[in-house]
Structures are given as structure tokens and as C-alpha cells.
């Protein structure tokens, strides 16, 4: 089974990103494929590389980058939502690309199931 993941909320402010991360991990562990992970609305902030939470908390951006590297995941930040919010290639973590909403459409068409996390 191939999942597409859509993340609609920013980091820390809402549990959505954590739920999405836990879901993605569990899906990979169960042997499923991830077609792509798309960040939209304030979700675009999840991959901001300057975030620096205290040492005793999770680093949401780093965590996504590590998962992406380990499993060769396709992480996509929406260019329209990103531009509006000051997210550009210079301020995002590695293993993430900025691309258009068309990519979300492609994920919806290619994946067997879409799973959405948000507020």
C-alpha cells in the first residue's frame, strides 16, 4: 500500500506534525510505501532549519530530515503557501524540496490512500 501524507499545521503549535510523524514511522515499519509528504498552510514551517528547541524536546525539522534521509522520502513544501510565509530554499532543512500544489495533486493520484493531519 502506498500512502500520501498531507500536513496542514505548523510545528509545536499543534500536534498534527507529531501525529503525522508517528503515523509515517508506523506505516514504514509495517512495510508500506510513502508516495510523498506535502506541507501546506502553516505546515510549511515544519521544515524551517533555524528552529532550535531546548535539548529536552524533539527537533521537529531535524526529525523529518532524518526520516527522509533514512527512507529516501519525498518531502515537499508548497511554494505558494511557503512564499506567503517567508519560506524559501535558503531557510529549509536538507531532503526537502519546494514545489507547486500540482505535486499534491500528483500524490493524490499516485498514492493508494491520502492521510491528512491538521487543525
Amino acid at each position: 500500500m502506498t500512502f500520501g501524507i498531507l500536513i496542514l499545521e505548523g510545528p509545536y503549535n499543534h500536534q498534527a506534525s507529531d501525529s503525522a510523524y508517528n503515523f509515517t514511522q508506523a506505516a514504514l515499519e509495517a512495510g508500506h510505501k510513502i508516495q510523498g509528504i506535502f506541507f501546506y498552510h502553516d505546515g510549511v514551517y515544519n521544515v524551517a532549519k533555524l528552529m532550535e528547541p531546548p535539548q529536552d524536546d524533539r527537533n521537529i525539522a531535524t526529525r523529518w530530515a532524518e526520516l527522509a534521509e533514512k527512507h529516501d522520502l519525498d518531502l515537499i513544501v508548497c511554494i505558494a503557501a511557503g512564499k506567503r510565509r517567508g519560506i524559501s530554499p535558503e531557510v529549509i532543512i536538507p531532503h526537502v524540496r519546494i514545489d507547486g500544489l500540482g505535486q499534491l495533486s500528483e500524490i493524490c493520484l499516485e498514492a493508494d490512500r491520502m492521510v491528512t493531519f491538521g487543525d
Binding site: I79, A80, G100, L101
Partner: protein, 111 residues
Amino acid sequence: MASIEVNGKQLEVDEEGYLQNLEDWNMDVANFLAEQEGVEMTDNHWEVVNFLREYYEEYKIAPMIRILTKAIGKKLGADKGNTKYLYELYPGGPAKQACKIAGLPKPTGCV
């Protein structure tokens, strides 16, 4: 922020050359932007630009190419409502290039 100068006035444009403030647009600005794009404005070119501006006025978006051709066909006739005709007028992409000259934001569907 980049800018262009038309009739002695500095107008802000974004990195791709789209007008930043839509109210800065006038026919001289359109001619300037067209020249930058290597497009010589004829009546047929103006027809498309005016169509886009009216569409934007009504719906607050610049239509993507498929919708643009359909809508132009409906209003101006089938000989004009096709991609070939529009690309001949605006080789850089009818939606993208004509929108820029019309002083509109980049059409939805191009991001």
C-alpha cells in the same frame, strides 16, 4: 525589491517581473512590460490583455490556460479560443506572459 521605470515613475516588480502593486498598471506600463517580453502589442494582443483584466476584475484570479482558452472562445469566437492562436500572440505562455503585461498576479496553475 526590483523595479522598473515607466514615464519617470519607479514601479516595484517581483523577481519574475510581475507588477507588485496592481494599481500601478496603465497602458504605458503594459507597453513597457510587453517590450521587455519581446512582444509587440497589436489589437489582438490588447484583446487578450483586456479580457484578462476583466476576468480578474470579476473573479479575482487570473485563469489558467485551459480556462483562458475556453473563456476566450466563448467571448471572442472559436478562432481565438485555442491554444495555438494564443501562443502565437504570447510565445512565452499566454497565461503567464499576458498576465504579466496585463499587470495581474501570476495565474493560478503556474505555481
